[in-house]
């Protein structure tokens, strides 16, 4: 599946292969993420979805192939990329000993914008209780509230953002993602659940398994 490239490429991956603990997870992965485009990374448990995301944000340097941020090859492009990055991982980056409000202000939000974001993830009234005492879904909402802050960075990389969220939470998230894409932002996420986002593209890591790797064009995806 190949789509003609209309908008400028934000993040490009060429012939990427990742390893973890000496085991090759996938190889020959190619895709291009344009401005205003979204990609959902698919693959079974242990296929390397999280490893792929952690490679893209530069937390792991155990890869071969090329990653380009706006045409600049890693690691030179990494710094510029991090300035435009919002990454929410498996561990949400929410401190249990702080309140949701304090957590958001730690990420540089002003008090009013933090309160607004918390209201939009339906945590109004919980802003002053400790995150330790909130449920898993509520903690996930606190982490995701960073997406609702003003001046959000342009590249969102989200690892399983929908875990522990209820139906209404997923809907609110999809709406916010669509708004983000409409404003020219880019989105890369992993999830096992289907997402209702216009123009969502897919990268399936099981197409790039080492054992059954496609010889030349199997892993080729261009999205924008």
């Amino acid at each position: 599946m190949s789509v003609t490239n209309k908008s400028p490429a934000v993040l490009q991956v060429r012939d990427l292969a990742c390893e973890r603990d000496g085991r090759r997870l996938f190889e020959g992965l190619d895709f291009t993420l344009g401005a205003g485009a979204a990609i959902q990374v698919k693959g079974g448990n242990g296929a390397g979805k999280t490893t792929l995301l952690r490679t893209l944000i530069g937390s792991t340097s155990d890869y071969s192939g090329e990653i380009l941020w706006r045409g600049q090859v890693f690691p030179q492009g990494l710094r510029a990329m991090r300035e435009a990055l919002l990454y929410i991982g498996h561990r949400g980056g929410v401190r249990g000993g702080l309140t949701p409000l304090e957590n958001l202000t730690w990420y540089g939000a002003t008090k009013t914008s933090a309160l607004e974001a918390l209201e939009r993830v339906d945590l109004f009234g919980f802003e002053d209780s400790l995150c330790n005492s909130l449920s898993a879904g509520q903690n996930r909402r606190v982490a995701l509230a960073r997406m609702f802050l003003p001046q959000a960075p342009c590249l969102w990389i989200l690892d399983e953002p929908l875990t522990a969220l209820d139906v209404a939470g997923v809907a609110a998230l999809e709406k916010q993602m669509t708004t983000h894409l409409g404003g020219g932002g880019s989105l890369l996420l992993t999830s096992h659940q289907p997402l209702n986002i216009m123009g969502l593209n897919f990268v399936d890591l099981s197409d790039c398994l080492v054992e059954e790797s496609f010889s030349d064009t199997g892993g080729e995806h261009v999205f924008n």
């Binding site: 991982g89 498996h90 980056g93 929410v94 401190r95 249990g96 000993g97 730690w106």
Partner: protein, 211 residues
């Protein structure tokens, strides 16, 4: 970041350890004032060292587990300053109270009065170095589940110079010699640790996160 650490209940633990062990010491070795006075500088310093190390383990642990350490590493700003800030907070929470408490413990152990001021200053400077050096060990072991002993093995040899000059200064003060040279060396150690230890710790954090 400072805000996060202020809420920790851990602050009391190393202090309690420090005070109880030193309070038990006379019971263990017998209450002869001369003997205690002889041992006091060394004992207070060793206990301060252990108390600092005891609390070091949790320096990055919480942040690692909830993912904020990863977020810190992703910031465009260097990790160096984050580590420096964390070490500073750690020192304010453990080293500084230890130094402030030290005259009281010196009294309990019958330390000659000439040594009080020197003990305070040497602990004040020394524990700051200990916090910074310990950050390296904490960063290296943050990904491990039970780092206790390994942390001690990594950090202890690096603590040795601080301990030597710390106790040396107090001993010199008690014996009536000039002790400014030892304090100057302690201050120099602190300056070197402040410049280099966060660098090493930041590198260690990146390695720990890279898996």
């Amino acid at each position: 970041m400072l805000l996060a650490l202020r809420k920790r209940a851990d602050i009391a633990n190393p202090l309690l350890f420090f005070v109880t062990v030193l309070a038990l010491l006379p019971l263990g070795v017998g209450p002869e004032p001369d003997l205690l006075a002889k041992m006091a500088p060394g004992m207070i310093w060793v206990m301060a060292l252990l108390a600092t190390m005891l609390s070091q383990e949790s320096l990055f642990r919480g942040d690692f587990e909830d993912g904020t350490l990863e977020q810190l590493a992703l910031l465009p700003q260097p990790l160096y300053f984050a580590v420096l800030a964390k070490s500073l907070v750690h020192w304010i929470a453990t080293g500084l109270p230890l130094a402030l408490l030290s005259p009281l413990l010196a009294l309990m152990l019958n330390l000659p009065t000439e040594g009080y001021f020197c003990l305070f200053v040497s602990l004040f400077l020394g524990t700051a170095s200990l916090s910074l050096i310990g950050a390296i060990g904490a960063a290296l072991t943050v990904a491990l589940r039970r780092p206790g002993l390994l942390l001690a093995l990594i950090v202890m040899p690096l603590y040795v110079p601080v301990l030597i000059f710390g106790t040396g200064a107090v001993q010199a003060a008690i014996d009536g010699y000039a002790y400014s040279a030892q304090l100057a060396i302690l201050a120099a150690l602190l300056a070197a640790a402040a410049a280099l230890a966060p660098l090493a710790a930041a590198g260690a954090i990146r390695i720990s996160l890279d898996n």
